[in-house]
Symmetry: D4
Subunit: 152 residues, 8 copies
């Protein structure tokens, strides 16, 4: 019997290398995990709408078109994930990350958050809905290894 594949969606912050750290850890441990994530190329993510569907004079609709196209990807991947990891970094509003966490919670996904302690109070509702609150990406890898192989 072949091993099951675990689908893990890595949402949130796109300005540090936390996804690479998790990917390296997953590969090193040889875990049967398919990691997915939103497009992390910031300009592409911002401009994909007008780039593909044509320009807009008004910034709001420029953003609106881009958000629609990004949602084709993110909504599809988030819905089929077993586990959703949401990273909150130190900068920006990151409402997008919290929005993804809310979707994950309502869809009944296993939710894991990843953020520094300083955000604990602001994220208390999100953390309450999560099965684990991590500080470092290595902890996420360890959780996956434990969840999949039972190895601490």
């Amino acid at each position: 019997m072949s091993e099951r594949t675990w689908n893990v969606y890595l949402a949130g912050e796109i300005h540090s290398d936390w996804r690479d750290v998790i990917a390296a850890g997953v590969e090193e441990a040889g875990l049967p995990v398919r990691l997915t994530h939103p497009v992390t190329d910031h300009p592409a993510s911002d401009d994909c709408g007008v780039e593909i569907l044509g320009p807009e004079d008004v910034k709001f609709w420029h953003d609106n078109k881009g958000a629609g196209i990004n949602a084709v990807r993110t909504y599809t991947l988030l819905r089929e994930a077993d586990v959703v990891v949401v990273r909150f970094g130190e900068k920006y509003k990151q409402w997008n990350a919290a929005f993804d966490a809310g979707q994950a919670a309502a869809l009944g996904k296993a939710l894991i958050t990843l953020h520094p302690e300083e955000h604990d109070h602001a994220l208390k509702e999100v953390d309450r809905a999560a099965l684990a609150v991590c500080r470092e990406p290595e902890q996420v890898t360890r959780i996956l290894r434990y969840a999949i192989r039972g190895e601490l």
Copy 2:
């Protein structure tokens, strides 16, 4: 045949009087709307967990207990809402608001956002999932009046 009651959940910012403005508008128009909302007394909302269930030495668990009890209220009301309005104010992280918006979107609620233009770019994913993006609470009341009575 009696009129149907519309359940409208007002999520998000708790430091301005936007809920009162909507409530006054709803009452003035005589709309059959039941407005619900999270507990807006900030200290009560922060401390309800330890107040009812006993103190915690660690702040994280203090918050965790409070978030659980608030969720008894918010999750129940959000799930039964027809319309969810989420307000993003000018201060604080407000991840909670974005988290509620994510839940509302995943649960298939009619989502309305309410925020100043300056947040447009940061909220583009949330706004994309919304049926209307308002700047002022009076616009929310007008939408409700139109949706319920067909009156502009």
Copy 3:
């Protein structure tokens, strides 16, 4: 034990008086039916978006804003309906009507269509998903009377 209320959503064509005919029939028969429908004031329906949320230079976004606000009403009412009646008239594209019929079918509503015979071939997929295909609004009233009271 009080009678149950039947929620019946009347979707589709807005340029003839078919809804009034059904309403009169329901009232005459004293049926416990709550009839709901989209906003049938064509200009209001077209302009509600920019009227409430502010003007748009581009017609596409003018329409987009209006469609969002109308959806607050239609989606809420359609989802809570027991029975959805969709009328296709003799003019216009009426894709909106077919779109509502598709939603009703996927949501598991009891679907009734109402249209002249000349549209039979073009509507065969929609009619196949319907529990009854009517030619005249009086037939809709008779179906409701039979379904609710068992009277032919």
Copy 4:
């Protein structure tokens, strides 16, 4: 870990080669996409019911039988799609296309519409439920490429 397969259902107009354009684009880009679609042989689609299940004297039932058998295919493929693209062409009523769009929306699929600008007003409710509104099939391929590979 093998790549995930994206299921994309191409609904709507069957009198131009738009599906071939998308298929060529998908193949050229080497995307892991399984394209599905209704039967596009118009006479077969019209007559499959009576051909397989026996003739009918009345045209309505002739159509009804055919619509049932086509639904075995379309309903199965539409339900398992990640993305549903609906094309509205320049001729015919095309209520079938709008009906499929309504089902896709209610089932929570990522919906993309494809139609010339002249249909914008008539399709405003359908477009409002879509994540992207395309004018040319090449734009659909670009969206898929971006959604799957993150490449603009």
Copy 5:
């Protein structure tokens, strides 16, 4: 706090007075139960389709139209029931009763069957999905009284 109303759908056999026996028992016990049922006037049930929607030459379509209109009623009532009672009598095929039982089981309703012992073997799959197998309608009333009031 007002008592909750229990919706109980009485499906199946229409040639004996078992529904009246249950209704009398419910009334005598003063239970807050809304009893619903398919149309039990056999000729009306058979002919409602052609009576309302026009005649058919072919018997199959005569039946098909009637079944559609009856489904407007039965499907709506069955879906909103808390408890579904299905009676199998001594005559006829009664596939309709078993079909309703299958729907009730798949919809997660509390299912009760009511039939003489002689049908036990033929109904073993249906009975396996039921929470109680009754021989007499009085037993159904007793179950309702126990379930609602806790009285044996």
Copy 6:
């Protein structure tokens, strides 16, 4: 891109060779179909409960145990089917077949019935919920071939 596999569950009558006819047709046409079915060994199906879990003195419980174990199989296969075919033969009550049809309908499966014309009136509700009513198993194969390959 590999072809999708169609899961087709063949429910109902177990005393004729109709499943073999369909299987032969599917194989001959080379269709990507996985045919599944209940256990068709009548004595095994009747006695599996007591055979595995121990004897019962009372026939009702003998049957009840067997029905439970058969349901482990049938419920799992029926739920994952794309298409459910239900055959009603000329003998026996076959309530089990109608019960499976009811489950299939409520679960939103593409339902096909297969029975001689003499059962039309008794099966009118089941047939109304079906997408096709066949007389011969070869027609089922043709429908599958058309639905999968578009070939008449």
Copy 7:
């Protein structure tokens, strides 16, 4: 606009007066709560099956019949609850209580547990799924008061 009614199901231990304490607290606070619960008369609960449906020689089936009839009540009430409180007392296995908690969690109910500290380790999975872990029934009332009125 009338207040919404909160449905609160009180599951678990039936040998102490904890439900009365909660009921008294709810009444004193004037909360719009409908409290429901399983039948708490232990002998009635054990014997309702054979009492209504006839005796069984084998104890297992005696219990099986009773459990079925109790489920008509418990399953209906649990499914419609907004909040499910599960009490674990000091005696007995109480697997029933944990089973109800599992159902409540999977159905997405707001779950509250109530048990002495000595059970903490054995109940850690159940408590993890709960929004609050109480020691005393008065705490449950306070949570309800806070959730409904926002009063600490």
Copy 8:
């Protein structure tokens, strides 16, 4: 056509070798079954939370963290199972097992229980929701063999 894989989750008691017995039986019979289970290393299961996420002074939160991480595994595997087997052993409270059974029942899984006769009365509600009640693990293997291959 390749055989379908059956996902079978083995929940409950972790202090005897019952899972090995089932695994050996499944292998011997060559059944296409993927067996999954919670982590059965008791200390790892208890300490995984603090081991990965950092220590806690309070035992309740120590347990809470561990339960969260175990849930990433158990909830994912339980949700994707076709069949859930729950074993109740002779020692400990085993509320966890009953909690898993409750989740399985509410999620509509085919539930099988496995326990000695002495627990029959205490487990009557759980057993009522199960499709089979086994005494020995070999019976579970026989049920799987029968359900998958039709072999007694």
